[in-house]
């Protein structure tokens, strides 16, 4: 974006503006575009979810407001705005007020490092991934604040559940990303995407692979296991079925948002859908190449970039359109999977959720980190790092050996851990029986 504006102002119009003015214009423009796009994403996603789930349930879904009901979310938004804002008498008014704000703000910050297409990232931070996850955990504070301030037992239970869930599922999410970071050696989200060019094999693992933009991490054993673990953790982080425990409507009414109405409730809703969108987007970016896809790399090579200032501006547009298309297609696919899961599965119980996170996902992702280390050693290291025996192998051979070893390791770990996990489940069931006996004897 910055390059294109620089090109337009200084080369096409020849105004000769300084760098800081270009940057200012670029950031203002990007911020404005993002603030227009983000709420519309949320509006579209609610409509999309309702229509998709209606098809799964043999219904039609919203189809009254506008053609095919496309303006239904707008009508809902207007309703939200015009509703009375009720604050319970016993609530802590100020905390009750700022709670939704603390929940929404981080989700907006997270867009700062999200790349939409080639060269289309608001701010290419070298610790983008870390920033993304650090910021996302801030919303737990807002959840706890709003649940506590409502002075409602359901809200308090919901907030406790939300915080416990977010804290425990951040670990497998970050551990699965750690494996990917080990492989790429970079925390920049843009670097992560450029790493994934190639055709089933990443061009940075094996030089000379034709670039079809398909060298996604999900095609490696390390990336596949990380993807499964990360997506499950993302479901828990985004409070989606089967992990929508903090707002379990059949148990604790609406969890931490029980005492919210009007636009404050709308803000929670906004935060949730935006967070879901972001989690789907980051899944698409890290494991499915983001904007990578057939053709984008070639188009972007002809465009105006820092490396190629003499490129053609038309190719910027073409590469951008195609890249954004690939990116959004993948993101919406993952959102559809979330909707699909919601249409099919029941909810887990909070203790089952914790068991699953701590006893299965975390050990599995830890093994995956070791696998990633082996992968890096076999594909990248040489005599200088103490791995002289791989020095003479062809890159493809090194890749194949790493693939087989990590695949075997991950499979063994998976089957072993699942066995241990189900045994511990049985033991826990026995423990519950003891508790039950003690309680019935008391009564």
């Amino acid at each position: 974006m910055h390059d294109v504006i620089n090109h337009l102002i200084n080369t096409v119009f020849g105004l000769g503006w300084p760098g800081w003015a270009i940057s200012l214009i670029a950031y203002l423009l990007i911020a404005t575009i993002l603030f227009m796009i983000v709420p519309f994403q949320m509006l579209f996603l609610t409509y999309f979810e309702r229509r998709a789930i209606a098809r799964m349930q043999d219904r039609v879904g919203p189809n009254r407001v506008g053609p095919e009901g496309i303006f239904q979310p707008v009508a809902d938004g207007v309703k939200m705005f015009t509703k009375e804002d009720i604050v319970p008498d016993a609530a802590d008014k100020w905390v009750h007020l700022i709670g939704p704000g603390i929940v929404v703000a981080p989700t907006m910050f997270m867009f700062a490092v999200l790349p939409w297409g080639p060269g289309m990232v608001p701010f290419d931070m070298n610790i983008g991934l870390l920033f993304f996850f650090a910021i996302s955990s801030v919303s737990a504070v807002g959840l706890m604040a709003s649940g506590w301030a409502s002075n409602n037992k359901f809200a308090l239970l919901g907030a406790m559940r939300a915080v416990a869930q977010m804290v425990s599922y951040e670990i497998p999410a970050v551990l699965s990303l750690l494996a990917i970071v080990l492989v790429t050696g970079s925390l920049s989200i843009v670097d992560l995407i450029t790493f994934q060019s190639g055709l089933f094999i990443s061009s940075s693992d094996v030089p000379g692979i034709p670039d079809f933009g398909l060298g996604w991490f999900v095609f490696t054993p390390v990336g596949f296991l990380a993807f499964i673990a990360f997506f499950i953790a993302a479901l828990a982080e985004g409070e989606r079925t089967p992990f929508d425990i903090p707002e379990a409507d059949s148990e604790i009414v609406a969890g931490y948002m029980t005492e919210y109405s009007g636009m404050k409730f709308g803000l929670f809703y906004l935060a949730q859908y935006v967070l879901n969108f972001l989690l789907c987007a980051i899944t698409a970016i890290i494991f499915f190449g983001g904007w990578q896809g057939p053709g984008v790399g070639w188009l972007y090579a002809q465009a105006i970039t820092p490396a190629n200032p003499a490129g053609n501006g038309l190719f910027n547009v073409l590469a951008g359109v195609l890249g954004v298309f690939y990116f959004l297609a993948k993101t919406y696919f993952f959102f559809f999977v979330m909707v699909w899961v919601r249409g099919a599965y029941a909810r887990l119980r909070i203790d089952q959720l914790m068991d699953f996170g701590w006893k299965l996902l975390i050990p599995l992702t830890l093994v995956n980190v070791v696998s990633a280390a082996i992968w890096v050693g076999l594909t990248k290291w040489g005599a200088a790092d103490g791995l002289a025996f791989v020095e003479g192998w062809a890159p493809l051979m090194r890749w194949a050996v790493a693939f087989v070893i990590t695949l075997v390791m991950n499979l063994v770990a998976y089957f072993f851990l699942v066995r241990v996990y189900s045994q511990s489940q049985d033991e826990r069931a026995r423990l519950d029986d003891e508790v039950l006996e003690r309680l019935t004897n008391v009564a």
């Binding site: 349930q57 079925t241 148990e251 309680l439």
Partner: protein, 369 residues
């Protein structure tokens, strides 16, 4: 040791999953239930007292409102009670029509109940929508036969209100052909879904002895391992002519209740097939023409009971020889099945309470009369 405090929560009367206006005072230690007190009576509408100022026939539509899911079965129990009191003969064809309607009721009730139960477990209405779809098909049949979908008011003393319309049988046969696919689908969903298994296995266990001492009946009792079905134990109407099995559970948990209900749907289908095969082709034989509807029974009392989809529904009527019952008492299965709720929930988590409540399959119209 960390000092913890018990928290008391009111689940209900306004709560999304209490199946009406039902209240549970739950004491929790963290998320574990240490005590639960069911509170009912929010839907009390003086049913039994009102019935005493109505004539016997006027009470027939009123029984529909007890358990509005299964109005046919309620009608059946009441008709049996009055017929026993007065001594009315029921023609052969009418008996078959009654059994047909009541068994259809059983299928629709279980389809709906399983859908609601999975909804309580947190699925987002998909399974409920599919259960309701099957229920609608049966309600269409009820509508064609009785003129109403929910409050059928189809039974009369000495038979049923009207004979079947001509297109009823072909539609019923189509329904029976399509039914096994739905039941198999539901069973596959419940047996193969890891999350549903985790949420239902060993949850809300009701041991055999406790169930008997609470006089629990219906699928709840059978899931606890007691093969007690009034259709078998004390055959009323013409149930002694049919060949069907009484499914029994092993543990008495939520999962067993689900499986018992699924199997009962299959057994009901078997009974309906036998009804279709044996149905006497006597048009107009749907009611005893000599039976007076405005009955004046001799002084005395009677208790008649049937196996509704929810359990034993009994009507106790006392007559003083007038046109109106002197005493009209309902033994409602939902109400009595609900009493062991506290024992079933103790020691489980908050999330299990709604699942256990859903597995009892209550209708508040019947609990608070």
């Amino acid at each position: 040791m960390l000092k913890t405090e018990e928290l008391q929560i009111n689940i209900g009367p306004q709560h999304p999953s209490t199946h009406g206006v039902f209240r549970m005072i739950v004491t929790v230690d963290g998320e574990t239930i240490t005590d639960l007190k069911p509170v009912f009576g929010y839907l009390h509408r003086n049913h039994e007292q009102i019935a005493e100022v109505n004539t016997y026939l006027q009470n027939m539509p009123y029984t529909d409102r007890l358990d509005y899911f299964n109005s046919m079965a309620n009608n059946h129990a009441y008709a049996l009670a009055v017929e026993k009191l007065v001594g009315i003969e029921v023609p052969e064809r009418a008996e078959y029509l009654r059994v047909l309607m009541v068994e259809l009721t059983r299928i629709l009730n279980h389809a709906g109940a399983l859908g609601f139960l999975i909804n309580d477990m947190g699925a987002w209405q998909t399974q409920l929508a599919f259960g309701m779809r099957e229920r609608e098909k049966i309600l269409d049949l009820f509508e064609s036969a009785s003129g109403a979908r929910l409050m059928c008011n189809y039974f009369r003393f000495g038979g049923v209100a009207r004979d079947l319309p001509p297109d009823f049988m072909p539609r019923l046969k189509d329904l029976l052909i399509a039914m096994p696919a739905f039941v198999d689908e539901m069973e596959r969903l419940l047996r193969e879904n890891e999350i549903l298994l985790q949420r239902s296995e060993n949850i809300g266990v009701l041991p055999k002895e406790v169930a008997i001492s609470y006089s629990v009946t219906g699928p709840m009792l059978r899931a606890s391992g007691v093969p007690y079905d009034i259709r078998r134990a004390e055959p009323y109407s013409i149930y002694d002519r049919f060949d069907f099995d009484v499914p029994v559970g092993a543990v008495g948990d939520v999962y067993d209740r689900i499986l018992v209900r699924i199997e009962e749907m299959r057994q009901s289908k078997r009974i309906i097939e036998q009804v279709i095969a044996q149905l006497p082709d006597a048009q107009g034989g749907h009611i005893n023409p000599k039976a007076r509807q405005n009955v004046r029974p001799p002084a005395g009392d009677v208790y008649a009971r049937v196996e509704t989809p929810k359990g034993e529904l009994g009507f106790y009527l006392v007559s003083d020889g007038s046109l109106k019952p002197y005493r009209y008492k309902v033994r409602a299965p939902s109400f009595i099945n609900l009493t062991p709720l506290g024992d079933m929930c103790r020691g489980y988590k908050v999330a299990d309470v709604v699942v256990i409540l859903g597995s009892i399959d209550i209708v508040m119209g019947e609990v608070d009369r």
